[in-house]
Amino acid sequence: MWMAITEEWSAVNKEITRKDLTETLKTSGVETKRAAEQVTSADQGVRRPGQALTLSGGWLSAASQPDSQNEDQKHREKTFQKEKSVHDIDTHKHEHKDRGKSKERMRERFKSGERDGDKMRERERGKEHQREGDRERYQDKLQESSLEKERYHVPKDKDRESNRERDKKHKRHEIKQIDTQTNLKSFEERDKEHHRRRESRHHLEEEKTRSEERERRHTEKKDKDTKKSIDKFLAYKAEEGERVYKLQKDRELDKEGERRHREKKEYSVGPGKERFSKERSHKRYEKEEEEKHKLKRSKEGSSHGDREGTVRDKGKLIEKEERDTRQEEVKDTRIYNSDTGFDNFSANYEDDFEDYEDDFDDDEDKSGEERGAEENLREIPFSRTSEIEEIQRAISAENDRICTSLSKKIENVKKEPIMERQYPSVRNSSCGIFMDFQMANQRQSSRSMASKQKKRSSELLPLIDLDFSVSFSLLDLPPVNEYDMYIRNFGKMNTKQAYVQCNEDNLERDIQTEEVETLEKWTQHPGESALVSGGEEHFNRILLWTYASLTPKIDSQRLANFLRSACQVIAVLLEEDQVATQPRWKLRSRQTSLSISDSCFQLNTNQPFLHDRKISCLCVSQVQRQTLLSVHGLPEKAGVGLLHRKSIICVWNIWQPSSPQKVLICDSEVICCCFSPNKTTLVFAGTIDGSLLVWDLREDSRMHPHMMISETDWTFRVPTFSTDGILNSVNHTSPILAVEPVSTSLNTDQNYGLSSLSYQEEMSGPPFQIASMDENGILNMWVVVELQKVDLAGSQTDLGLIPGGKVKLVHSSAMELNNSLFPKDVRQRMPQTLTIKFLSSNPNHFIVGTNIGLVGHSTRHDLKVLPKLFRPQESGLRSISINTIDFFPFGKPLFLVGCSDGSIRLHQMTSEYPLMQWNDSTNGQPVIALQWALTRPSVFFVLDASSNIYIWDLLENDLLPVAKQTIPSENVVTMALLGEPEKTNGLLGLALAKESGEIDIQYVKEKWALPQPGESEKLHLLLLQSF
């Protein structure tokens, strides 16, 4: 390495010397000029050292030193003149610039060197002016730093001395010539000069430091070489005399140029030289601008005279200093760069140098004509002095000489830099022994690498197997069919599709509507279980579920009952309301009131369908005392329509007298009727043709025929069941004289094994039987059966059942009362049964009234009972028909018997003969009806055939009735008692059915209605006494 470097160094040195020479030659012209100026400045410095000192301060504060005004003035004049010459040069330079703009770049570079020279000169001179001491110090430094400089300092000084002399003459010339110039101009010039000086000072300082450094390095590193070169220079000097100094100086300059070049280089690394030159030109332009600016300002300020000018100058000076500091900053960076450059001296220096050379070559190419131009330029100022002219000529001659020789050399070198630029390292490597080694090394390494790779590949190759294993389908675009293509194109275009049909009337129209969506939903009210509503999907399941669990829960029966009773209550209330608002009823009731009664009212039998019908029978329910049945017989004249030849039974609620609750019809005449024992839901009737009829009052009215009579819709209920359809063997063949309900509730002990029938309780209370007895003494027992299933189509087996009916009678047993009841002696008299009553306390026992004055006693099951017959007190059989029998309602086995001869007997069940017998109480009138008071045990009512009502009170009078009331107007056909024994409100109604078909309700006076304390005991005592 070392070898290579030293070798290069020697080459570099050679190059340096060569360059130096050329530089020297080039700049020599400038140098001469500078030398001359330096002489003058030195002269000045020598002559007025103190002045210079004051001046140096004076530039800053010229106004503060008026004492040295004169001297100052002189000095100024001198400097002006001197500067004038410089200015001339400057102007020439400018001219030159203007003239050769095409070559400006090249020339600029050259000029920069030149101007640097100028600046240097000016700077030195300025220094001499301003700071003599400084300069000397500087020179001392220079001497210390470089031996060569030291050595040449003396001759330089000498040279200066001579130059000074020469310059002085020349200057004086100038002064005379330029004396005519105005003060103003001199100011301008001075300003410019000053400015330039300031600038150049910095340059110089830098240059100095750099040159010092460089010098030092030179001395240290290549002292021998440099010394040799210096020696050479010395030899040169010997030949050329004073030029040696210049050469040396030039060398410095050269270096400076070089440095500049390096700077340029540094700048031009990126943008290139052009930019740098531009910058430079720009800088220069700035300078010019500034100068102009100053010129203007100084023009303005010129009228104020010197002092102001100086003040102004001072201001400018400050400005300038500012600028200088700026420049210094820039330069500092440059210095830094260059310093680093020097650090890498061995590497950079050469390159820089070569680059410089390269640039230089370019310069040299045109150097010929440029030089000529320059020389011409210079000749103008220099021609003034013949000496300088001579020198100039000598220089030019020498320049020419060396130029030609150099250009040849440089042409050889020229090729290298080009190569160098492109392949700087290659050039380095290719041009030495070391490089050969390197090449060899490279070759060797590459060979080894190749072998390695070969080995590797040979190892790898068997491992790798290449194959065509797969082929990939990258794209499979099926051809588009014609229609799609058409559609695609069609869709892109802004077109529309339309169709036309020629045969216009052949159009078909069609409307398509969306199908209506249906969804089945159901709800359950009241929501008794968790599942209250649902949709279709649950439907079937829900149905099953409903049947399984819901049906038993619906108590429709209860609901119906509730509604029925509620309806009645409401209807009663309405009726009462109506009665209160209609006094007609009250009036009528007053008219009809009797002496035995407090009040009375009439059931409104004034219905169109009830006209001309006799009432044959009245019946009051045992449990619902306000419910009354009235049997209306066939009308005398034949009716029309539905009611033709029909008998009618009306169901009344006495609280609602305006109209019957229900109207029942049947085909034959009804002789007797009764309610079901527990509830007033069933009505039984026996007809004259021997059929037993049942009406179910719960049936829906829609099952029955309707009739609109006087704007009221009447429902005429037909019998639910008739025994007409039952076989004759068990059926009645003669008119039914009596129908009695037989409750089985009291003999539950005999009802064992029938508990399965208890379900019927829900429907109609405890099961019961109906006994019907006809004229022939045949007693039939019927079981009332409620059907669970309703057959709307009618039953095939139960022919008497109405379609949809639920109640039927099943024949249970039949008794031949005439045979079983009477002994043979009595039987010979051909007794006829007329009425029958069942003992309420023991329904198995019943008594039968006959037409021979005897009352038979028997049981349903043909048990032997005593007494078998109840006889009147008179012995012997008479044809006295027993019209009515009534059991004592307060528990004791007593009964009253009303006979057709007008006698009334009070029997007890245990004795054959009566307890009491009243024979002529009715004056021989047959007793039609007789009944115990429901609220008082000792009172009973008797109706005879002549419409007299007798009231018996046994406690008051046990021989005669206490009251007798004759119904005045009409015959009373029958009588029934209404009252509630459970209540002691004193209401005891007497329902009287008149022949005309009217029904009066008489409320008996309270004295017969209100029970008295201990009445039963008293009655008991009375009866005991009578017995």
């Binding site: 194959d467 990258l474 051809p479």
Partner: protein, 105 residues
């Protein structure tokens, strides 16, 4: 390892970006294919398949309804080498890009 899926994603992204609204103009297509192949190649190099030699093939054709079938067959080591391809279509052109990666041993 030459990952087909990532490469395919790269290709797809580039194609989507570059060809989104491009119409088929015959004069511009050579340039477009070239630039596409370059961008894809550079992008794949950024993915860092250092030991792979990348070959990117770009084919752009006009869509005129004709059927096109493209197939590739490679003579290579199927263990290491792989390829990825992606097809981009709009209504005027189709573009098939196949990127093959061959392993440097």
């Amino acid at each position: 390892r030459f990952k087909s899926s990532t490469v395919k994603e790269c290709i797809h992204a580039i194609l989507k970006e570059k060809l989104a609204n491009v119409q088929y103009i015959p004069e511009e297509m050579p340039q477009l294919t070239e630039s596409l192949s370059e961008t894809i190649k550079d992008r794949l190099k950024e993915e860092g398949f250092d030991r792979y030699k990348m070959v990117v093939q770009v084919v752009i054709g006009e869509q005129r309804g004709e059927g096109v079938n493209m197939a590739a067959r490679c003579f290579w080591d199927a263990d290491t080498d792989s390829y990825a391809h992606d097809v981009f279509m709009n209504d005027s052109l189709f573009c098939v890009v196949a990127a093959f990666g061959c392993f440097y041993y």
